[in-house]
Structures are given as C-alpha cells and as structure tokens.
C-alpha cells in the first residue's frame, strides 16, 4: 500500500527531498517504516540530532500501524516561537 512521507527542517536536507510516496507492506508500524527509510537514505541514517515523527498531523507512538494513504512526517525537534 502507498503512504506519503514528508520531511521538514534539517531532516529534509538529510533526506534530500521534501516528500515522496512510498510502497509499504500492509501491517507495517511507523517505527519499522522509519527504519526502512533510514536504510535507504544514508543522510538520515547518519543523522546525529534527534528525529521526530507524526502520523496524519498528530504525534503518535512508533508502534502505530500504518494504513493506506497515511501521511507520515519526519522532522527535527521543534523550535517554533
């Protein structure tokens, strides 16, 4: 099934892209997909600063199971204000 992945801030630079649509196995957890993405993007794998994530515009647990058309976002620790 397909999901959308969005990248922000320095994570966007590390990933070398702003967004992509990727194919993931049914039943995949957020954490497993982040692991998969890191395996394909060395910039993200080598990243030293923390990596945060959100699913469909909400913070979530890494164990959360993905659904078709979900929007997964990866980004640095926030620094608004």
């Amino acid at each position: 099934m397909k999901i959308t992945v969005k990248y922000f801030g320095s994570v966007k630079d590390d990933a070398g892209r702003e967004m992509e649509i990727i194919d993931v196995p049914e039943g995949s957890s957020v954490s497993s997909i982040i692991g998969m993405i890191k395996g394909e993007r060395s910039g993200l794998a080598l990243r030293k600063n923390p990596l945060m994530f959100a699913l469909n515009q909400n913070f979530c647990d890494g164990n959360k199971i993905l659904s078709e058309n979900d929007e997964l976002a990866l980004f640095p620790v926030v620094s608004g204000g």
């Binding site: 922000f8 801030g9 320095s10 959100a54 515009q57 909400n58 980004f75 926030v78 608004g80 204000g81």
Partner: protein
Amino acid sequence: MIRIQEEPLDLEELIQATRNTEAGAIVTFQGTVRKYSGSMEVTSLIYESYKEMALNVIQTIVDEAKDKFGVLEVNVLHRIGTVNIKEDSVAISVSSAHRKEAFKACEYIIDSIKEKVPIWKKDVKPGGEAKWRD
C-alpha cells in the same frame, strides 16, 4: 484567529480581535528576532512549518489554555519565511476578566508552542550562510 503567514504580523489587528467587553486585561506576547543566537551574531532567521499540523497543534494549545485559565479571547499569529532582527516571529494575545489569568494563559501558550508546534528555524549569519537550529 490562528494564522501561520509569510507577511509581517499585524499587532493592531491581533489586539483588536482580542478585545472583549467583559475583559479587564489583555496580555500580548511577541517573540522577536534578536541579533544573537547564543553567542553567535545573526542577521535574520528563516522559519519553516509543517503548516496543517502546526495549525492543529496551536488550536489544541489554545483550547487547553481557555479551559485551564478561563480566559475570554485568544489569538495567535506565527510568521514563516525570513524574519529580520526586531521583527516578530510569533504574537499571542489573550484577554480575561482579571489580569492574573491572562498572564498565566499567555505564558502557557508560548511555552507550549515552543515545545510542541512543528516549526523550525535557521540562523542566517552576517555572511549569508544559513544553518538549522536543531
């Protein structure tokens, strides 16, 4: 109103929207760009947001603050893109019947925004080089 925008923030409009016939107090916070990031000099900051999520998170924070402190009106503006020294990156205005609640709610909202809202900033140094503040 809750807005994330590239245009400079209009404080006048923000404060007008916060006025209320039952309010005895309005407290407004502006985050302004200062010429130092730690000990390093900067000429501006560049802000980027995950806009749809940022708006949702700010709305949740505003609802929490209204609930917690019983304030009357709350309005929030956050700027993205390039923000120069002395300009506002964020502005929050809160009205309440009595002043204690407005101060508390306003401080709660900016503390929560800094902690939870998906917005990031880059320091722009005098030479023009820009570096994410992670």
